[in-house]
Symmetry: C2
Subunit: 338 residues, 2 copies
């Protein structure tokens, strides 16, 4: 049973532990947090909190450490989540530059998040299997290069600059894009390069410089289809005391490169200990890691970009969550403007 006093004690323990990374003892709570109970009372309450699964003991003679269940309660009930003014100011630089690409803006914010939290942040792009091609355009820049613009059914766009070995004729570009638009519309992004292969005969027939164009498009499709996993600040983890052991770092780094893992990590549906907060961000706990994520909806569609922060369970949830919420709003605003 979580009495008000136990909640009070739990909050103090989580706060202290997040701050110092050291197991918290009953004496600390009296002395440092001025709780109006004796240490013996607090010990009794801590024992109760442990029995209910909110706290853990690293070993007998240490203080208590919050369990993931404890963190979950803390995040759900005990954080207030407000964004600092100074933080908003720091971020305004990024979002004020209207001319910036949405992708760039997201990446930039990702970097800022890593810097500000000293954690690892990541972006998981729209699932390539769920998007299909709506339209392709190829705009010549000069005689040997062109921009390829691809638009998906969720109004998501991607750009890629092509550079050709030889000069390329405008007619060929037109013919080629006409064929592709005709034949590839509606194809899921993940199948594009495969389906492209089957168009080869057709292109050979109608397009003189088919080879260069073909290679260029295949390259572009591969890029567009790849699960856009991007992450940043992995090396920040060396500053986290929970990673002072190199082996832990290694295992963490190994996990990062696997995008399916990221998806799973933040898939609140399957995770028992996950939590969906009111403001939008979600939190999930796995072993001694916590993942805070925020889905950015793209033009009100189902498909979305997921902004994430990963770190040890011992993280400043209020800071991270408010940051993620704020940035999520900003990015959605940019999307709306477009």
């Amino acid at each position: 049973m979580l009495t008000a006093r136990r909640v009070e004690i739990l909050k103090a323990i989580v706060d202290e532990f997040i701050d110092t990374a050291q197991p918290v003892g009953s004496k600390t709570l009296v002395e440092k947090y001025g709780l109006p109970y004796s240490s013996a009372t607090i010990r009794n309450e801590m024992a109760a909190l442990e029995a209910e699964g909110y706290l853990e003991k690293p070993h007998t003679s240490a203080g208590r450490v919050p369990s993931n269940k404890g963190y979950r309660f803390y995040v759900e009930n005990l954080t207030e989540k407000e964004v600092d003014e100074e933080v908003k100011y720091a971020l305004s630089n990024i979002f004020d530059r209207q001319s910036m690409n949405v992708e760039e803006a997201i990446r930039e914010s990702c970097k800022v998040i890593s810097d500000m939290t000293s954690l690892t942040s990541g972006i998981l792009g729209p699932d390539a299997t769920k998007q299909s091609l709506e339209h392709i355009q190829l705009i010549p820049i000069d005689k040997r290069s062109a921009v390829c613009v691809l638009i998906t059914n969720v109004a998501h766009t991607e750009h890629k600059v092509f550079n050709f070995a030889e000069e390329i004729s405008v007619e060929d570009i037109k013919k080629c894009t006409d064929i592709l638009n005709d034949r590839l519309k509606g194809t899921p992004l993940s199948d594009l390069s495969e389906k492209m292969e089957s168009l080869k005969p057709l292109l050979v027939q109608h397009v003189r410089q088919y080879e260069m164009l073909f290679d260029a498009f295949v390259g572009a499709f591969v890029k567009f289809a790849s699960d856009t996993l991007y992450f940043n600040g992995a090396s920040n983890m060396i500053y986290q005391p929970e990673f002072s052991d190199i082996e832990r770092l290694k295992s963490f780094m190994g996990k990062l490169n696997d995008s399916s893992l990221w998806r799973e990590l933040t898939d609140t549906g399957t995770r028992q200990l996950a939590l969906k907060t009111s403001k939008g961000s979600e939190v999930a706990w796995v072993d001694d890691l916590a993942v805070v994520s925020n889905d950015i909806r793209v033009n009100g569609q189902e498909d979305k970009v997921r902004l994430m922060v990963v770190g040890p369970s011992r993280m400043k949830y209020d800071k991270v969550m408010s940051l993620l919420d704020f940035i999520g709003q900003q990015i959605e605003k940019i999307y709306e403007e477009k």
Copy 2:
């Protein structure tokens, strides 16, 4: 005096140490390398090599470890540097895609280098203070976006996609680029955004939607001017035994983000222990780190892109150097084709 036998012993020690990361003792050399001398003889020779500065002792009862001077000799005289066929094959994927941007190709190779060597690799772009603007083009993609193409005096080009909040008129784009080309030609890239400020009154006068365009260009100029330092695979270092101490990792990571450091590191002129090999790559040693770099000349000009690999002095020099040489050649070839 480096007799042939001492060289033989030195080579064996360096080989063994690179392989095992353990100080090498006289017995190992006899048993594992089958050197036709007794361990006592080898001990004498090792003492001599140490006296001349090619070897070091971590402590009395350990084996010997190569000093940086030892590595230098090793690299200069004892490596043969040939690229594996399988490596060439692995890289051919990257360079065969002609449509790829040179910048992309370089970045991709950088990643491959990191993966293949388990070291950190980096790219140092042309020095922005040494390049000046030759020409700007702004090509509309659709009503709200355009590609900005910037060409420098060393025929280096950069692209950036602009996204505007409102529709933008073609006349405005034309007027704006005309003014910029007229007024900014010859300006060093590093001064562009500053000088842009002084053009504001002029733009206000002639261009209706000057504000959006102005912001977009300033953003682009900042990007073009920034010292293009890019590096990859820093987290590989956790697999290197010399970084099993977290503190070392921290200090290493701290250094990486400083581009002036990278420049200095590979500035063979100032570094005593640096080495310029015949094939092109340079090696420098600083403390217990080694940096192998390869300058890629851009269109025969003085200005260049520098491809680098950093790691502990104990690295597989022949592998790294041959890789860097090979990739350097490939990239120069792409540049020539353009």
